[in-house]
Symmetry: C2
Subunit: 557 residues, 2 copies
Amino acid sequence: MTNSATLRVLPLGGLGEIGKNMTAVEYDGKIVVIDAGVRFPTAEQVGIDLVLPDFSVLKDRADDIEAIVITHGHEDHLGGLPYVIKQLGGARKAPKIYGLPLTMAMGRSKLDEHRLREAELTDVKPGQTVKTGLFELEFIHATHSIPDACNVAVKTPLGTLLFTGDYKFDQTPVDGGPADFLRLARFGEEGLLMLLGDSTNVDRPGWSPSEALVGPELLRVFGGLRGRIIVTSFASNLHRVQQVIDAAIELNRKVCLLGRSMRKNVNIAKSLGHLDVPDGLIVQPRELEHLPDHRVIVMSTGSQGEPLSALRRMAFRDHPQVRIRPGDTVVFSATPIPGNERAVNETIDKLYQAGAEVVTHKDAPIHASGHGYQEEMKLMLNLTRPKYVVPLHGDFHRLELHKRLAVKLGIPADNVFCAENGLPIEVDAKGARFGKPVPSGVMYVDGTDIGATADAALRDRRSLSADGLFVVVATIGDDDGKSVAEPELLFRGVPFEHDEAFLKAVRDQVDASVERAAADEIHDLDEIQRILHDDIAQLTWEKLKRRPVVLPVVVAV
Amino acid sequence: MTNSATLRVLPLGGLGEIGKNMTAVEYDGKIVVIDAGVRFPTAEQVGIDLVLPDFSVLKDRADDIEAIVITHGHEDHLGGLPYVIKQLGGARKAPKIYGLPLTMAMGRSKLDEHRLREAELTDVKPGQTVKTGLFELEFIHATHSIPDACNVAVKTPLGTLLFTGDYKFDQTPVDGGPADFLRLARFGEEGLLMLLGDSTNVDRPGWSPSEALVGPELLRVFGGLRGRIIVTSFASNLHRVQQVIDAAIELNRKVCLLGRSMRKNVNIAKSLGHLDVPDGLIVQPRELEHLPDHRVIVMSTGSQGEPLSALRRMAFRDHPQVRIRPGDTVVFSATPIPGNERAVNETIDKLYQAGAEVVTHKDAPIHASGHGYQEEMKLMLNLTRPKYVVPLHGDFHRLELHKRLAVKLGIPADNVFCAENGLPIEVDAKGARFGKPVPSGVMYVDGTDIGATADAALRDRRSLSADGLFVVVATIGDDDGKSVAEPELLFRGVPFEHDEAFLKAVRDQVDASVERAAADEIHDLDEIQRILHDDIAQLTWEKLKRRPVVLPVVVAV
């Protein structure tokens, strides 16, 4: 990243999606970072709490980063901020961070939890422009499934880049008005160097339904119910929360919020005026038992079947305050994110088993995606008429489909760059091209640590979890290398610890191996451990057809 | 299971579905077992190869089992047979096993692999009746996504039970003709005691599409292609294989079969006349390079994204014979089974990345389910007019929906029994009711073992995989209990093994703990290990905020 006349755009995260969680822009040695998100681990990433984009390429360059811009408050764009700040040298050394007010409020709440209060988060308004060193940043109001989402323009000496962030073109949004069509069209007029566009729903033809269509459907579903209603949705979808609240008012029901993130987001949104909640509407869980069933709506986290969420705990009869019973109806105002289907289905079946009725998006149109469909991507391209297009936020297939859309609209195929994470796109006076790949990938947050070392640990965990573990301790005399105590055997995760014949065979083998080493005058403990490992592993395979992790320990006394 | 005048029906398997993999019928101390299937493990069941229904309640009763009946050749109905035979005392002591010819041929192939050739598998024909002691078994031709599927009637002194097995009412099946409507209707006329019906697709309204509609769609898709075609489907769906073969003939392409189960099933089906394959049509993988692209159809396993399948290996550029390249089109003639979505999506994206086009059921109707929809379940109920209905093959929700269908058709709600695995339904002269639950659940096949011991092992593996492992070896003098060698520390799956300050703290703690135990005159090694465990676990949590499995070993010399 040295050539001063070259502009570089570097997508950095994360798993299976390109440029989703973080993208860096560099010009003349100075950097702007767009988004700092996380992903949740897959079932194979055992014991991992969060997955971060590997941004080690930025780690030693805290001083060069002019700004971190967060496009909106969803976890996959904001959730990595505490870890990024820590890696860049802590709150006091952190670059300036910009975003719209709700995004920044959610960011502050996160940084508080990580004791990073000293980082400087700056609220900007839609339409506002911020100058940071070489770059000028402009924030353009966008519609998405959370308030205060924006497109971000990064103006550089070589031209303007427009990051769409996550967006749809909702003509009748619940909060904040439609997208800033005029400003987007002016980019087309002024000449836009590069559009970096969301590809999430590029495989869906047509237009996404408006969020405003969900409210009347919820009201229709709720209106037909006489028992308690439990609604679940993404806690950050405050438009949905508002529509549930509106339906509750209409139906003369009280609303009880369950789940930490639901309560937290509602509080933040209320304080910023994104939610209109009449006094006395919200009740506490302990008040539920005093209300008749037809006066209750519970709004809960857990729409994705998350293990510790309020809804999952209710379904498994493990919630301290709410017990599901016949007459209850649980309304899923969300669709499962790919990979979560099994957890969601399990939750639903447990709810049925507890006697509840369940209503999902298959029964009524009670969910709308926050990401635009094909026609909306075409509109974005036609409004902004960029010279170059970089599809982001998708797997390889989606970026390719986005490219085909752009080409259909007349953008030359050579001007569309389907990048990979860690593969920079370079622009200079002569044109644009791919640069040399830089180290990229993912980092794991594991307990409180972040790091690549977890990679090796993850491999170990996988083999430990596949066939279990077998520890063999041999104690030998320091002088002659002969066994001086009965070998100790320890097992975890293997079902043969009561097989006495096998245990005896292992003990005999330990003695034989130690004796052989002594006879061969092998005194190096590591070498004896290697011999023991190989002998015991082979014995275990022969006798049991298993390959547990064998850990030999030789103690010399 | 003792009352001689009582008929008992006991659903036994498996995970999340009720009575799917095995159901037992008992009368007067004699038993018939319907199906012996397996399930594949979920991502959380680490290191487990297969999941079996827990049939321990049958284990000591090999002599009482008059017959095992297999309704069709799918893994979830047939795949557990080798394990069931082993648990019942081996091939020579195995009960007689009955099924239609393809099912039995697939069963024999399985038993061969497990060296259980001496078990007696008897081919029966549709319409045939077999008398086994107290029971009479009748096999009724049914349509499903594999040839030779059947409904099974079990005639008892108290009346007839009809197990539907898996079925749809395909009016234009590819092989074997439509269902035996007349025989089913005669059950209604004769009086059917109980219908035990498939509930898989009870949440889908209307009729399932015929398998015969898939062939023309495949031909239409294939006909538009000029490059190589790679089709993937379930290897046991021989109707689909036939339709791919027919399309290949029409389009003058050769067919190459990839994947062990695909080749095996095709060979068995050909030998039984279920597949019509002209000589010279099938080519070997090594011949592919000599054929022009437009002359090739590869038919492959891997439609579910299975890790070692041929298609997955092609997608990850790891297949020894076929390398995906631009111009190839991969056609998924199957839908992902819930839970497999992520693996399938990953495979698809890798195929795109390798330059292939991908066509799925979302692009064209190139898959048809093997399970009937709501109207077909209604037809089954209206044809057979049972006194009692037991919905099987589904989660709690599906059984409940199936019950509602039956009630809508006029069957009294009290005569419909939504059972659970291990919960018997008992019928005698006075009526039907639920009996007392028996032990049930699942067993794991882990390497070559089956057993409940694996349950504890599974828990261990989960904790090993969550935070890794930490072995601490202390060596103490036999006489005074004092440390006589430097503590040994071993780690697996934890990313802090190079943290020297932490390692020193642990060694110091080991010495301190051992010293304290010696001072307190604690000489019991187990007790010293407990002390070490608690001290080290606490230290690790304080210093690192982690909870690896701590395994202390104390060696006395």
